[in-house]
């Protein structure tokens, strides 16, 4: 018997879908509709806009860190709560003392609507297992060298919460407007595997 873990990911996914459909738990139409909605407006541009607003508007920053879903709604992004196929958005802020990085060790949980489809490496066994164990080494491989005194805080997304990093605003950007600032924020910056 061929183990299903030897198949390409797409074939494994389809087998799982077929089992769910055969069990009467879903249908092709339902899966298509869900995926279409999931990816329709999903982009890291959304997360970047939220970060730039937080850098320029202290009240928005406070809301973003306390109630991520409400902050997303304020910018027109729909992030439904967990009981409506959504998630609880939790945003963690980088400071001079703390650098945050997100991971999902159990699978690949990720705030898709605000960050776009997750990169392949985010789903890799190497990233998922090593980030909780030796994040400083993982970040160094991404080219992120943190000063010795900076504490690394890893967030493992094991529940209905999805995490996003609010990068620190780069020095020397005081004159830039919100749109220009948003252009500086990268997807990896919102995951914590890059500085902005």
């Amino acid at each position: 018997m061929t183990g299903h873990d030897e198949l390409p990911a797409a074939a494994r996914t389809r087998r799982l879908e077929e089992r769910l459909i055969a069990a009467g738990l879903s249908s092709d139409d339902e899966i298509d509709e869900f995926l279409t909605k999931l990816y329709a407006n999903a982009s890291p541009v959304n997360g970047a806009r939220m970060a730039a607003r937080a850098w320029t508007d202290p009240a928005f920053r406070g809301l973003l860190l306390a109630e991520g879903n409400a902050a997303a709604a304020e910018l027109g992004f729909s992030v439904p709560p967990p009981d409506r196929h959504g998630y609880q958005l939790r945003v963690v802020a980088n400071t001079d003392q703390v650098h945050n990085v997100i991971v999902c060790t159990l699978c690949s949980c990720y705030p898709v609507s605000l960050l776009g489809p997750s990169p392949g490496w985010y789903k890799s066994f190497a990233y998922r297992s090593r980030t909780v164990r030796e994040p400083r080494a993982v970040l160094a491989e991404f080219g992120v060298a943190l000063p010795e005194g900076v504490q690394i805080s890893v967030w493992d997304s094991t529940s209905e919460a999805r995490y996003m990093v609010l990068p620190a605003r780069p020095a020397g950007t005081g004159a830039l407007g919100e749109d220009r600032l948003a252009g500086l924020v990268t997807r990896n910056g919102l995951i914590g595997t890059a500085l902005v």
Binding site: D83, Q88, R90, V132, E134, V154, T158, A161
Partner: protein, 88 residues
């Protein structure tokens, strides 16, 4: 909410043969509650088709790398449902 932020908790020694969202690397470990996130259905029940599933508070719990791995100066915060935890 049973465990306010700041409470020391310990993850139960727990190795079920069904689905759970308790990652093995925190089993038996002590950490500190950072926040109560919300009350959500317990995935251990939902995945087994138990209706209705138990609905419990889920907590973000912070562990030190030194406790988890014996080395390292970082922290790892894991979301854990109430029935995975005891007061430490």
């Amino acid at each position: 909410m049973t465990y306010p932020a700041g409470t020391r908790v310990r993850v139960r020694a727990f190795d079920p043969d069904h689905h759970t969202r308790m990652p093995r690397y925190v089993r038996g470990q002590a950490g500190e509650v950072v926040a109560a996130l919300g009350r959500w259905p317990l995935p251990d029940d939902s995945a087994r088709g138990i209706t209705p599933p138990r609905v419990q508070t889920c907590y973000a719990v912070r562990f030190s790398a030194a406790d988890l791995w014996g080395s390292g100066d970082h922290t790892v915060t894991v979301d854990l449902w109430e029935s995975y935890l005891d007061r430490a």
